[in-house]
């Protein structure tokens, strides 16, 4: 399986269906920001998200939203900090900051954070 770095360099696309986000990689999530909600609880009991991992993709259900389009507008992004599985989680150099833009036909664009986007870990 390709590494998270390789996947991100290939400008991958994911999918979204209502409040379900499908990302074409796996990782250890540290922080997710949707709208003005800062989510840091990814335990099974989390009231914010429910995450399931499949062989080569990850499903994230945002429990507080009926539809991601209601929360994330044209110029906004869902922001995430995550670490590739197997890498040292305690090394900040391994923390990847990514932004996810909702596009047409249920697709999402996944990019590493641009310098101009404000995103505080």
């Amino acid at each position: 399986m390709a590494t998270l770095n390789e996947i991100l360099k290939s400008k991958p696309k994911g999918l979204f269906y209502k409040n379900r986000l499908i990302l074409p990689f796996q990782g250890i999530f540290l922080k997710v920001i949707v709208d003005d909600d800062i989510i840091m609880d990814f335990s099974p009991a989390s009231k914010h998200v429910y995450i399931t991992e499949n062989e080569d993709y990850t499903d994230i259900y945002f429990k507080e939203y009926k539809h991601l389009k209601d929360a994330v507008s044209k110029y906004e992004a869902i922001k995430m900090v995550l670490v590739e599985k197997g890498k040292d989680i305690f090394n900040f150099d391994n923390h990847k900051k990514i932004v996810i833009y909702l596009a047409e036909k249920h697709q999402v664009k996944i990019e590493e954070t641009e310098e101009d986007i404000l995103f505080i870990e």
Partner: protein
């Protein structure tokens, strides 16, 4: 919830009191309020400022001082929206909630106490007849020590936080300052000019009453549309522009505006009855206390009305306001200072407070809750400073 509470007040006034004048009046003030806030919000959302320098406590103090001064030129809302993003960016490796809270104190509120453009209550005073430069001439010697004191407290916080902060930055700092979106600067100028387009200021401006808006509001809403349509999508994306923060303010403040109608009428009545007992200190604390939780513009107007009542003058007559200004300065000074300064006590004390909070949360900064903001920051930091101002100038 805010709208439901507002509707309860509307129903009570319309059905039980059969009184609609107060509601119409407050609705017109709400339209003016939201027109100004939304136009400044959208126009500044199309401007991108990047200060690629490492923030130090000294630099942050200078930045906040600049914000305080500029808020008198483009308003506390305009200054907050323009400067909050570069401020976060500068401090990205060490930002804490207190950075944002002091920004709210200084740039979103206290800084704007020197001109009628700075904060809406002062503008309402200007429309009623208070000379444009009256605030500058009569408040500067309070503004300077207040700003110095609060910057001093911030410096101590920031210096303490800076200790041991030698984390290297991944790409270093270029030291450059970048500015994009000059067209929207023009729109900001249009908004500031249109603020003066009032029949009370220029006789040639058409009076559209009983409509709850005038040409000023039409221009401001046109700026909302045009500045958004013509903005560079790259800038909007960099600023992660979204209408949600201004929508939140619009919903919240419609509730505040409507529910404060009976509260302010009660205060005005009490002030009239007890006018001989009222002194500058009473006006300072009463205006401040209410400006912390209600909108400061009608609070200012009601206490101005009560203060003028002591001289049997009417706030609705421009000549009376001028007469009042020449007769007694200290009441108006106390009301002006308190209305602006105390807006920083809560997230709902002034429009930009909530917008700044929302922008910061979207950037990933955890902000304190409504009560934590008060208990941890505004009460222990601001109340002692407001007490100093009280003992120095209004005791």
């Amino acid at each position: 919830m805010a709208i439901i509470l507002g509707l309860v007040t509307v129903v009570y006034y319309l059905i039980f009191l059969n009184e609609y004048h107060s509601l119409l009046h407050i609705f017109a003030e709400y339209i003016s309020f939201i027109a100004l806030l939304s136009s400044l919000f959208v126009a500044s959302g199309g401007i991108f400022i990047k200060v690629d320098k490492k923030a130090t406590p000294y630099m942050n103090v200078l930045f906040l001082l600049f914000g305080a001064v500029i808020s008198n030129v483009i308003g506390t809302t305009g200054a907050s929206m323009l400067l909050i993003r570069p401020y976060i960016k500068m401090n990205q490796n060490r930002i804490k909630a207190y950075h944002v809270i002091f920004f709210i104190f200084i740039v979103s509120n206290i800084g704007g106490a020197l001109t009628p453009i700075g904060d809406p209550p002062l503008f309402i005073g200007f429309l009623r007849g208070v000379p444009f430069f009256w605030v500058l001439e009569n408040v500067w010697f309070i503004w300077i020590p207040m700003i110095m004191l609060i910057l001093g407290v911030f410096f101590l916080f920031d210096k303490f936080n800076d200790k041991g902060n030698d984390t290297p930055v991944q790409n270093g700092y270029t030291g450059k300052v970048e500015f994009k979106g000059f067209r929207n600067l023009g729109y900001l100028a249009v908004i500031i000019f249109s603020v003066f387009l009032d029949p009370g200021v220029f006789s040639w401006v058409p009076d559209w009453s009983p409509l709850p808006f005038g040409i000023r509001e039409v221009i401001m809403f046109a700026v909302v549309y045009l500045s958004y349509k013509q903005a560079d999508p790259e800038i909007l994306r960099s600023n992660e522009f979204d209408f949600e923060p201004i929508k939140e303010v619009a919903y919240l403040f419609i509730g505040i505006f409507l529910t404060m109608v009976p509260a302010l009428q009660l205060i005005a009545e009490e002030a009239r009855v007890n006018r001989d007992l009222l002194n500058a200190g009473t006006f300072y604390w009463a205006t401040g206390g209410l400006s912390s939780f209600l909108d400061n513009t009608p609070t200012y107007l009601n206490f101005l009305s009560a203060a003028m009542g002591k001289y049997t003058l009417d706030v609705n007559v421009k000549a009376h306001v001028l007469d009042f200004v020449s007769q007694d300065i200290i009441y108006l000074r106390a009301i002006s200072v308190a209305a602006v300064f105390f807006g920083s006590m809560t997230y709902i004390g002034n429009g930009p407070n909530f917008m700044v909070k929302s922008i910061c949360e979207r950037a990933g900064i955890e902000m304190p809750s409504f009560f934590t903001y008060m208990i941890k920051y505004s009460i222990p930091i601001l109340i002692p400073l407001f007490l100093i101002i009280y003992f120095l100038f209004f005791h």
